[in-house]
């Protein structure tokens, strides 16, 4: 009876389509000033995460609206119908971008290297429909969820878990900055009153002397 139970546990540990769920993407260190802006965010590269994949695997980043996370289909072609960046949040709820081979994420990473991925940095192709996998600026403050997906050809071979929800900054209108009316400091009040008294004494002296 132990064997069926063990098999059940093993099956549950794999994703629905049999892929192992590896460690989810995380935002980069808080020492980066541009970690989250109003249209971009910065993730740590997936170093030493995809350990058992063939050398010619391509790692894609999936950016999705949280509504698309529960029934996300790994087999849809990146940039294909339903996955165009230019339609993100219009007619599609997810897109894939930042594709690169696993060789660009060597493990272990050199200490002192800043290994990050900036999501939203490509502004030149943001409106270019011929580039549906563009890494364009995000259209709103989100929230968004991301994961890495490893494709061999067009077959998914590994994926990470979905990240926590990432919410971008919202800029307050500059007109809302309160410019308080002049509050008078103690120095100003002291100076004004002392000078006024001195001047009054001088005028009194002038009148008395004439």
């Amino acid at each position: 009876t132990m064997l069926p139970l063990l098999l059940l546990l093993l099956a549950a540990a794999h994703g629905l389509d049999g892929l192992t769920d590896l460690k989810a993407p995380v935002l980069a260190s808080t020492s980066l000033g541009g970690r989250i802006t109003t249209s971009t965010f910065v993730l740590d590269q997936p170093r030493c995460i995809f350990t058992n994949v063939p050398k010619d695997t391509v790692i894609w980043l999936v950016v999705a609206d949280p509504k698309a996370v529960p029934d996300f289909n790994n087999s849809v072609e990146p940039g294909g119908p339903g996955r165009e960046f230019q339609q993100f949040l219009n007619s599609t709820l997810a897109y894939m971008t930042l594709n690169t081979t696993i060789l660009n994420y060597p493990c272990p990473k050199n200490p002192g290297d800043i290994t990050v991925l900036r999501v939203g940095s490509e502004t030149s192709c943001a409106k270019d429909k011929t580039r549906p996998t563009c890494n364009g600026p995000l259209p709103g403050p989100g929230p968004y969820q991301v994961k890495f997906l490893a494709l061999n050809g067009s077959k998914p071979v590994a994926q990470t878990r979905w990240s926590d929800r990432i919410t971008l900054r919202t800029a307050q209108p500059s007109g809302s900055i309160a410019v308080p009316g002049s509050g008078h400091s103690a120095g100003m009040i002291a100076l004004t009153s002392i000078l006024s008294i001195l001047f009054a004494i001088l005028l009194a002296g002038l009148v008395a002397m004439l």
Binding site: G33, T38, P137, P180, L195, L202
Partner: protein, 260 residues
């Protein structure tokens, strides 16, 4: 009679001394105010754009008051030595007028200093820096002044924004309308520059890697010179006026003792 003669002599000596000090202080005030008006830190366009540059008006008044004090102190010395009642009366009246002007200058300088808060400069920077459409010629002039001043400030002092680089992220701005957030999370002048004036690592600057961009704010670089300016005019003027008060009182007393 000898005793009161001595008394008068002492008073004369004191008044001459008082006038000498007033004259020298007048020259010092003129020099100090000329220095402030020359705007060595190039911050005047920021004040101009607040449409309230009273600190500069106070410095201008200070220049003329200082010169007037010098001239009047010479008149005072002559009047005291000659014991001439008419001259003394003229001296007293003119000094009182100068006193009033200097009072105005001091009070203006110290009042306007209270008006210059970080939020004021923040709002001005966000609304004017790199603003593309101007309402009228005056607006265009002020916008250009603010933009050039901020560019120079950020380059020379290695700083960004008023309180920090995050100012550009936390608030909308005229800059943001023409420069996308992905390409310019903050202006490129916030990046650490090499000797040729271009960023040493533009991607590092956009990412916000410490060492490739300046995250500290420029408020200290603005408020330091403005404080010196305002306090220099206001409190030095105050000290001169206190001294002049005693000299004038002495002169009035002397006038009432001089015989026709």
């Amino acid at each position: 009679m000898a005793k009161s003669d001595d008394g008068i002599r002492i008073l004369q000596g004191l008044l001459v001394f008082g006038n000498v000090v007033t004259g020298m202080c007048g020259i010092a005030l003129t020099a100090e105010c000329i220095f402030f008006v020359s705007d060595p830190h190039g911050l005047y366009p920021l004040l101009e754009a607040t449409e309230n540059d009273d600190i500069y008006a106070a410095a201008w008044i200070g220049i003329f008051v200082g010169f007037a004090l010098f001239a009047l102190s010479i008149l005072g010395i002559v009047a005291v030595i000659k014991s001439n009642r008419t001259l003394l009366l003229v001296y007293i009246i003119l000094m009182l007028i100068t006193y009033a002007f200097e009072m105005a200058s001091c009070i203006t300088a110290v009042t306007q200093r209270d008006f210059l808060t970080p939020n004021l400069f923040l709002k001005q920077m966000l609304e004017r820096y790199n603003k593309s459409e101007a309402d009228n010629n005056n607006d265009k002039w002020m916008t250009e002044g603010v933009t050039k001043t901020w560019d120079k400030l950020m380059l020379q002092n290695q700083c960004c924004g008023v309180q920090g680089a995050s100012d550009w992220q936390e608030y909308t701005s005229a800059f943001r309308r023409t420069h996308s957030d992905a390409d310019y999370p903050w202006p490129h002048n916030c990046c650490v520059m090499n000797a040729q004036g271009s960023p040493i690592n533009l991607d590092g600057c956009k990412l916000g890697v410490p060492g490739y961009y300046n995250s500290n704010g420029c408020y200290d670089a603005i408020s330091g010179p403005m404080n010196t300016h305002a306090w220099g005019v206001a409190w030095f003027g105050f000290a001169i006026l206190c001294w002049t008060f005693f000299v004038l009182l002495g002169t009035m007393f002397y006038w009432s003792r001089v015989e026709y």
